[in-house]
C-alpha cells in the first residue's frame, strides 16, 4: 500500500487530522523513486533538496494555520518542457542540456500558490515530438506495465511516473495527443484541456496553435482538482482565454442519465485494433447502463487530420525552434568559423533526427512556392475538421472513442519508420486541430497492457467530460489496477 493509492481529498484530510505530514508524502515519493526509477527511467532531474526543504516549511505552516488548500503538500512531477526557475529544464534535448531557467512558467507559479511540492522534471520526446519517448536525447522511459514497451509520448515520463507511483500526479503537454496517448498506454487519467484554458507562458513552444498543458493523475477527481489549480486567463499568454473557470469537481455527480454520446464510426474503423474497439464498445455498455444514450455519427474528415497536423505542427515548430541558435542560451558548437556556421553546426549537433525532420518539413511547407499547396491547404482542411466536430457537438454532449489504436508497443518497434509512428496519433490529433478538450481514462487491459477511453467535449466544457469520465470510472475497476514493479 502506497500513500499514492489515496486520492488527493483523502490525503488532504489526513494532513489536516495530523495523521500525515507533507514530509511523509515527499519521502514516499523519493523512496519509491529509489525503488523503481532504475527500471522506469521517468525523471530527467530530481529536486530532492529543495523538495525536502519545502516539505518541512509546509509542515510548519500547517501546524501554524489549520486550514490549507486542497493541493497543499501534494508531490507533483512536471514535464521537462515547462520552465522552472533554477531547476534545469531540457526539453529532453541536447541543445538545452544545461539550461537553467530564469523564470517560472505560469502553471508552475500556480502550483506554488497551491503549495504543491515539485519532486522533479520528467522525461519526454525531444521538444515533445514523438509518441514513445524514444526521441529523448537522454534516456528511454519504460512502460511500468511492461518494461520492454514504451510509455507513449511525448509526455511519457509524466504518465509513467504516475503509473509507477513515483509521484501522486504530474503535468504534461499535449500538441497531438501527448497527454492522452501516454495516459492510455500507462493506465492513468490524462486531460488535454480546451485550447486557451491553461496558460502556455513558460511552456517551451512546439506548435503554438495546438499546444496545451494538462494534468495526468490516477483518478478523474484528482484530475479535476489539478486542472482547477492551473486554469485561467493569464496576461502573459495572449492566447489564454477570458472565460470563467467553473468548479470542475462539482460536476462529479456520478449522474449521466440522458447524457448524449456520439460515437464516430471513423474512430472504430480501419487502423483501430480489435482490443481497443471492443473495450470502447464495452465502455459504452457501461455508460448506457448508467442512463446515457449513444449513437453512431460520422466525422468525415478524420482521415485527413494526420496529414494536416504534420504540416501545421511542423511549420509552427520550424518557426518556434529558430530561437535555438547557440547564441543566448543552450548548447553552442565548439568550432564555428562564422555566425552562420555557428547556427548550422550548433543546430546540427544539438537537435535529434526527429526534430530536424520536422523542422525541415515545416521549412519546406512554408517556403516560397509551396506555402499555398501545403501550409494553407492544411489550414483549410483544419477548418473542415473543426466543422465536423462542431456539427456533432451541436447535437451531442460528448464524443467517445478509443484514445489510441493499440496498447503500448515495444521499444524499437516503430522507430525506423516515421509514418508508422505518426499513425499512433490518428485518434488524438483531430481534437488538437479543433482546439477541443479531451480526456483518456483507463477502460481495460489487453494482454496485461492498459487501454484508454477517450471522451471529447465542447469548447470549455471540461466539466461534462469529467462528469462522464468519473461516472464511468466509478462504475468500473480499471483505475484500481496497478502495474507490478
Amino acid at each position: 500500500m502506497s500513500l499514492f493509492d489515496y486520492k488527493v481529498s483523502d490525503l488532504h484530510e489526513l494532513l489536516h487530522k495530523k495523521e500525515l505530514k507533507v514530509t511523509d508524502l515527499v519521502e514516499e515519493s523519493y523512496k519509491r523513486i529509489g525503488q523503481v526509477e532504475d527500471k522506469v527511467q521517468a525523471f530527467l532531474t530530481l529536486d530532492e533538496e529543495q523538495a525536502r526543504q519545502s516539505a518541512k516549511l509546509l509542515d510548519e505552516k500547517l501546524a501554524a494555520d489549520s486550514q490549507k488548500g486542497l493541493l497543499f503538500g501534494m508531490p507533483i512531477g512536471v514535464k521537462d518542457n515547462i520552465v522552472t526557475k533554477g531547476l534545469r529544464t531540457t526539453c529532453a534535448s541536447k541543445i538545452l542540456e544545461n539550461f537553467d531557467p530564469i523564470y517560472d512558467a505560469t502553471v508552475v507559479q500556480k502550483l506554488q500558490q497551491a503549495e504543491t511540492v515539485i519532486i522533479g522534471k520528467l522525461n519526454m520526446d525531444e521538444f515533445a515530438m514523438g509518441s514513445s519517448n524514444e526521441n529523448s536525447a537522454f534516456k528511454k522511459t519504460r512502460n511500468p506495465w511492461d518494461l520492454n514497451r514504451v510509455p507513449g509520448g511525448s509526455s511519457g515520463g509524466s504518465a509513467a511516473s504516475v503509473a509507477a507511483g513515483e509521484v501522486l500526479f504530474s503535468l504534461g503537454s499535449d500538441t497531438g495527443g501527448s497527454i492522452r496517448q501516454p495516459a492510455s498506454f500507462c493506465g492513468v487519467v490524462g486531460m488535454k484541456p480546451t485550447y486557451g484554458r491553461v496558460s502556455r507562458f513558460g511552456l517551451v513552444a512546439f506548435a503554438s496553435s495546438l499546444d496545451q498543458i494538462g494534468p495526468i493523475t490516477r483518478t478523474v477527481e484528482d484530475n479535476a482538482f489539478l486542472l482547477q489549480a492551473i486554469s485561467g486567463l493569464d496576461p502573459m499568454d495572449s492566447t489564454s482565454a477570458n472565460v470563467d473557470v467553473p468548479n470542475f469537481a462539482a460536476a462529479l455527480t456520478g449522474d449521466v442519465k440522458g447524457l448524449k454520446i456520439a460515437v464516430p464510426k471513423e474512430y472504430l474503423g480501419e487502423g483501430v485494433g480489435e482490443a481497443a474497439r471492443q473495450s470502447v464498445l464495452a465502455a459504452l455498455k457501461v455508460l448506457e447502463g448508467l442512463g446515457a444514450v449513444w449513437e453512431e455519427v460520422s466525422l468525415p474528415h478524420s482521415k485527413y487530420a494526420l496529414a494536416a497536423y504534420y504540416l501545421l505542427s511542423s511549420s509552427e515548430a520550424s518557426a518556434n525552434l529558430a530561437r535555438f541558435d547557440g547564441v543566448r542560451y543552450g548548447y553552442r558548437t565548439p568550432d564555428a568559423e562564422s555566425l552562420i556556421d555557428l547556427y548550422k553546426k550548433t543546430r546540427a549537433e544539438g537537435f535529434g533526427d526527429e526534430v530536424k525532420r520536422r523542422i525541415m518539413l515545416g521549412t519546406f511547407a512554408l517556403s516560397s512556392g509551396y506555402y499555398d499547396a501545403y501550409y494553407k491547404k492544411a489550414q483549410q482542411v483544419r477548418t473542415l475538421i473543426k466543422r465536423d466536430f462542431e456539427d456533432v457537438l451541436a447535437k451531442y454532449d460528448v464524443i467517445v472513442g478509443p484514445t489510441a489504436p493499440t496498447p503500448a508497443f515495444k521499444i524499437g518497434e516503430n522507430i525506423e519508420d516515421p509514418l508508422t509512428m505518426y499513425a499512433n496519433d490518428i485518434l488524438t490529433i483531430p481534437l488538437n486541430l479543433a482546439g477541443l478538450p479531451g480526456i483518456s481514462v483507463p477502460c481495460g487491459l489487453d494482454g496485461g497492457l492498459p487501454l484508454g477511453l477517450q471522451i471529447i467535449g465542447k469548447y470549455f466544457d471540461e466539466a461534462t467530460i469529467y462528469r462522464a469520465a468519473h461516472a464511468f470510472e466509478q462504475a468500473t475497476d480499471f483505475h484500481k489496477q496497478k502495474p507490478e514493479l
Binding site: 544545461n98 537553467d100 530564469i102 523564470y103 485550447y195 486557451g196 496553435s209 496576461p235 495572449s238 492566447t239 482565454a241 485527413y304 494526420l306 496529414a307 494536416a308 504534420y310 504540416l311 529558430a322 541558435d325 547557440g326 547564441v327 543566448r328 542560451y329 543552450g330 548548447y331 553552442r332 564555428a336 568559423e337 562564422s338 555566425l339 552562420i340 556556421d341 555557428l342 547556427y343 548550422k344 543546430r347 546540427a348 537537435f351 530536424k356 525532420r357 525541415m360 518539413l361 521549412t363 519546406f364 517556403s367 501545403y374 494553407k376 491547404k377 492544411a378 489550414q379 483549410q380 482542411v381 483544419r382 477548418t383 473542415l384 473543426k386 509514418l419 486541430l433 479543433a434 482546439g435
Partner: protein, 99 residues
C-alpha cells in the same frame, strides 16, 4: 515521381540553418518524400472558398495597457549564454564567409 529532391532537402536545410551531411541528406530526402506524398492526400479535398483556421478561438488583437516594466537583470540573462564578455553576448565574426 518524387516530391522532394536531394538538392531541395539541402536547400531547405540551409534555410533552416541545419548543417547536414550527404548521408543525412539522402536519408531525409527519402523520409520527407514519404511524408509529403502522404500529405498530398489533402488534395482529394475541395477547399475552394474554405477559410483557413490559423487559430481556433474567436479572439483578435488581445491588447493590454502599455505600462513600462523593469527588464530582467543582466546577470540573470547572461547566465545561460554560452559565451559573454563585458555584459554582452559574444558571437564569432559576423562578416565571416558564408558557404
Amino acid at each position: 515521381m518524387s516530391r522532394i529532391s536531394n538538392d531541395q532537402v539541402k536547400h531547405v536545410a540551409n534555410l533552416a540553418r541545419l548543417a547536414i551531411t550527404e548521408e543525412e541528406a539522402e536519408k531525409f530526402t527519402k523520409q520527407l518524400d514519404a511524408i509529403i506524398t502522404f500529405a498530398e492526400q489533402l488534395n482529394e479535398l475541395d477547399t475552394e472558398n474554405v477559410e483557413p483556421t490559423y487559430h481556433v478561438l474567436d479572439m483578435k488583437n488581445v491588447l493590454r495597457e502599455d505600462i513600462p516594466q523593469k527588464g530582467l537583470p543582466r546577470e540573470e540573462v547572461l547566465k545561460n549564454a554560452p559565451e559573454h564578455q563585458d555584459g554582452q553576448i559574444k558571437v564569432p565574426n559576423i562578416m565571416g564567409k558564408e558557404d
